[in-house]
């Protein structure tokens, strides 16, 4: 842990030197202040996100890359409250706002005000549609489709699938589900025989699956959205059914369960989700924009995939009860920017 941090620190120091020499035309950002506007903190993913942003920000400040990197979270997960928070940030004179938004559209007015005041706005995860802001988006539909494509390689015979959805009415839930249904349309040996909302929470998923299982025929695979795989497995176990192939979502308890099943019965699956560290990527992208770099408005971040081979490493590096994470460095941001050009 400490070694990797030192390496990271050394790498970013080297980068600072490199940047200073190679891009002498780029503006200095050491007096710039960046704020994180976050709408929700009530789950392990968001906690890991805030932690990563804090670490990245503190390091950047001590390295003299920026003057401040402060995180603010609203208490009620409401767009009105977050809009007021953004207006405060404008008044406080931040140079850039890194934004995980409560709504893709409801914050557009506040975001426009920020742009008009000369503040750079970079949205990520929960992105905003206002054209003046930058967007670091995850291709959620591809994430859903990849699950079905993976199942097709493992279960060429096909069979019945159970779909665990997220929180009803949220953009991310619709996108992942759309991808899953596209995947099933292409792989017609599969049929989705049941669909429940697990709200990205293990206990909710466990309850929903326990309720629908008695009415389902044999299920060979479960497609999920993350944070719901462990609860699903528990519900199958409680019902005395064979454990199907459950695609997981990078939570530590899911990975631990996977490792236990692998050791006991050679269980094999795939786990994928967005790394909470995407906040650090957004931070560096904002820094690059402030430095005068020409950055396209729409960027894509790859999702973090864990396979049978990388399971042990992922499990070792994930704190107990948390979620698998990667922290993005400045050169990762540069790579993502270069890919988008």
């Amino acid at each position: 842990m400490t070694i990797s941090k030192m390496l990271l620190g050394a790498a970013s120091l080297a980068l600072v030197a490199g940047v200073a020499q190679a891009n002498s035309h780029m503006a200095e950002t050491s007096d710039k202040r960046i704020a994180l506007s976050n709408n929700y903190a009530g789950n392990s993913w968001r906690q890991a996100m805030l932690q990563t942003f804090k670490e990245t920000g503190e390091e950047a400040v001590s390295d003299g890359m920026v003057a401040a990197a402060d995180a603010y979270t609203t208490s009620e997960n409401q767009a009105t409250e977050q809009a007021a928070q953004i207006q405060n940030m404008i008044l406080q004179g931040y140079d850039a706002i890194v934004l995980n938004a409560a709504s893709p559209t409801a914050l557009n007015g506040a975001v426009k005000e920020a742009c008009d005041a000369g503040v750079t706005v970079v949205s990520f995860d929960g992105i905003v549609t206002e054209p003046c802001a930058w967007r670091i988006a995850v291709d959620f539909a591809a994430m859903g489709k990849e699950q079905v494509d993976y199942l097709a390689t493992r279960l060429p015979e096909g069979g019945n699938l159970l779909e665990i959805r997220g929180l009803a009415g949220v953009f991310v839930d619709d996108e992942i589900s759309k991808g899953i249904h596209e995947g099933v349309a292409e792989n017609d040996q599969f049929e989705i025989v049941g669909s429940v909302h697990g709200d990205w929470a293990q206990d909710v998923a466990q309850k929903a699956v326990a309720g629908i299982l008695p009415s389902l025929p044999q299920v060979v695979g479960v497609v999920t959205q993350g944070g719901d795989g462990y609860g699903t497995a528990q519900a199958f176990k409680a019902a005395g059914r064979d454990t199907p192939l459950i695609v997981l979502g990078n939570r530590q308890d899911e990975l631990q369960w996977w490792a236990d099943q692998r050791d006991a019965s050679d269980y094999e699956t795939l786990s994928l989700s967005i790394a909470p560290g995407v906040a650090s990527l957004a931070f560096w992208v904002a820094q690059q924009i402030l430095a005068g770099e020409d950055v396209p408005k729409d960027l894509t971040v790859p999702f973090l995939k864990i396979t049978q081979d990388s399971l042990d490493d992922a499990l070792a590096s994930t704190p107990e009860g948390s979620v698998a994470n990667v922290s993005y460095a400045l050169d990762d941001a540069k790579q993502v920017i270069a890919d988008a050009k």
């Binding site: 009530g42 709200d199 293990q202 326990a210 309720g211 008695p214 009415s215 609860g231 939570r251 704190p319």
Partner: protein, 314 residues
């Protein structure tokens, strides 16, 4: 008791609705999986029943009395208990003690806000819940710690064919019923809910009754949180979220008067089973989230109307 008398009981409607949802779900499978579904309903219904019993006592206190801090109390109690146990065997009772202690503290804090600052209970408990939730975030940063193996086995296990958590919920329901129907404290609670001023003039220590009720609801919530976290493999920061509306819904569907002064213990259990079964039924029939919410809402309104009209005629 004639069937007509039975229909006049407000609690019968939640049990009828639960049976109908059960029957309709099994209609889809032509009877297969009946035991499985009943077992799941009893397991998950137990958590709703436990928080519902607490909420019922508070609502019985009369108009304006409600505890909105239930989800945060559940989360805080479960988080602190599981952190203290840190998966070590033999610590189940230590964890239980901590959870119940959190419940007592939260209940006293809620009542202090209501009594000392004269805040309406809705505002006081909502504000307090933000504090409890923040404590839960601050104390463990959302990390899920596994319960000790023995405790997890108890929470997911069964006795005489019924889930252990359902036995706990059933025992609590009987205790609450006896207390309400057969003890002086229960009578004082009902009197306070029917008319606060009359009760006070009649010599009922109304503030003491209110204080113990707010402590009881928080203790029930913390017990539910402790059991739920042990059942589902750890405490999560959002674990209590769905129990806010759930706790109020099971009270209302169960036939307890929202105006206070009239409790209904069997109805709470019927409604808790119904809330699980109706979602299972709509999921089994493949209803989307929108349709499911609309239908659930409509059915709840129908049951409440049925229960209240019958009472007026009777």
């Amino acid at each position: 008791m004639t069937p007509l008398n039975l229909l006049a009981k407000p609690w019968i409607w939640s049990w009828l609705a639960a049976s109908a949802a059960f029957g309709l779900t099994l209609g889809l499978t032509s009877g297969r999986g009946a035991g499985e579904l009943a077992y799941a309903a009893l397991s998950f219904g137990a958590f709703a029943a436990i928080v519902g019993l607490g909420q019922m006592l508070v609502i019985t206190l009369g108009p304006g009395n409600v505890d909105l801090s239930i989800p945060a109390t559940m989360t805080l109690a479960a988080t602190l208990a599981l952190k203290a146990m840190s998966s070590n065997p033999g610590t189940a009772f230590l964890g239980l003690g901590i959870a119940l202690g959190v419940g007592v503290a939260a209940g006293l804090a809620n009542y202090a806000l209501i009594f000392l600052l004269r805040l309406p209970p809705i505002i006081a408990t909502l504000a307090a819940s933000l504090v409890y939730q923040s404590f839960a975030i601050w104390s463990n940063r959302g990390l899920r710690i596994k319960p000790p193996a023995g405790l997890a086995d108890f929470a997911t296990g069964r006795f005489l064919g019924l889930p252990n958590v359902a036995w706990v919920g059933l025992a609590l329901a009987i205790v609450v019923w006896v207390v309400l129907e057969r003890t002086v404290w229960g009578r004082m609670l009902l009197a306070t809910g029917q008319n606060l001023r009359v009760a006070r003039l009649a010599g009922v220590p109304v503030e003491l009754v209110r204080a113990t009720t707010y402590v009881l609801v928080a203790v029930f919530a913390s017990l539910a949180g402790y059991l739920l976290a042990s059942f589902s493999g750890g405490a999560a920061l959002n674990m209590g979220a769905e129990y806010l509306l759930m706790s109020i819904a099971v009270v209302v569907i169960g036939g307890t008067s929202i105006a206070g002064g009239n409790s209904n213990v069997p109805g709470v259990w019927g409604a808790a089973l119904f809330m699980f079964l109706v979602v299972s039924m709509l999921n089994s029939y493949g209803a989307g989230a929108g349709v499911r919410n609309v239908l659930t809402g409509t059915i709840i309104i129908a049951i409440v109307i049925a229960a209240s009209t019958r009472r007026v005629r009777a």
